[in-house]
Symmetry: C2
Subunit: 243 residues, 2 copies
Amino acid sequence: MTYQLHYWPTIQGRGEFVRLALEEAGAAYADVARGDGEDGGEQALMEDMAGHDRPPFAPPYLVDGDLVIGQTANILLHLGLRHGLAPRGEGGRLWVNQLQLTIADLVAEAHDVHHPVGLGLYYEDQKAEAARRAEEFRTQRMRKFLGWFETVLERAPPKAEGGGGWLTGQALTYADLSLFQAVEGLRYAFPNAMKRLEPKLPRVIAVRDAVAERPNVAAYLASERRIPFSTEGIFRRYPELDP
Amino acid sequence: MTYQLHYWPTIQGRGEFVRLALEEAGAAYADVARGDGEDGGEQALMEDMAGHDRPPFAPPYLVDGDLVIGQTANILLHLGLRHGLAPRGEGGRLWVNQLQLTIADLVAEAHDVHHPVGLGLYYEDQKAEAARRAEEFRTQRMRKFLGWFETVLERAPPKAEGGGGWLTGQALTYADLSLFQAVEGLRYAFPNAMKRLEPKLPRVIAVRDAVAERPNVAAYLASERRIPFSTEGIFRRYPELDP
């Protein structure tokens, strides 16, 4: 069965966390709004979203047969179970969901850096406020979030022979894929801050590198399906915010 | 078995969403940091949190036997299943999690109103920026979030004889408890904006009222266990932000 992913067609955004899980799983999916037909485009996306009995609040959402699933972490909770991208046991599943929700918090703060006073305003209308917020984000929040993931990796059970160093220890989960994406996004948006931080994050960077080498992920990243980062997305490179 | 809830001892905050679920379920729990012993207080909270093999990133977290569960929506996912506060079926569980994550987004934005440029700064150091952000929140974001919940309630399956009008239709879930808390918080922080909005939200207000009348919830709200709202919490009443 083919999943239908509904997300803004021109950015990575939050949809990218879902795309990475679908790609790693080798799952068949249509990235609906990126299609050429009458289902494609932002207008069709908004109309489709509003029409469901259980309407999502915002993209991304995934249609899986009768299920219409919104909220990135919720979609991944579903896909993780379906495709072996999360532990089967209750404690493991909750832990991976917890890791994912913490990545979601980091992503939301990365977005707020360039939109501190108005989600509906342009960045150009809040540059001074963004500069204030960016300083705290670079010097405190990024360090706190990424340092926490480093600690999680440090305390994870020892890796199996030839195995991983993944967030849960033994096996890749969707949270590892999302950590990869967070690192990539932060490297794009805050290259200087990341250069200073990365020496303190060997385990986080090892996860990033291991994800990039997964055959399905590597093929995806090299394909046209991977939309480039840009100043339209969640992670934005504004040099004045990363001195 | 007694749950251990770990959260800041002097505010409702995000912990309140967990407290409401525990109270509605009639579950035995210790609100650890509010205790008098050596487990009480913020210092002990921080030390306990940092000591776990799977350390939570931030309070609240719940200890349930061997499980240490962080992230509010994740804790509720667990409690919902344990205490019949969520549907048993997969689709229903995902939908309630989606509702909860959308409430979490609303709560995060309510917090950002008074801390738009620095989580670590005082409100007094960002009053001008807060005024800008508050205007958009009052006139657009609150309306969009609460209007979405109104639509969800409008489209929910018809209520059973004598039953509810709950977010999923037939039965109370933890998302209804959280919607109650969101309405209470917004009424505290933005009384004027809410007075203007509420006439358009009859179903949302009906959920708020129905939750307040649940015997366990009513007893809790009347008890000393319910910490009052204050300008230390997530929802803050600053009259200049709600003209």
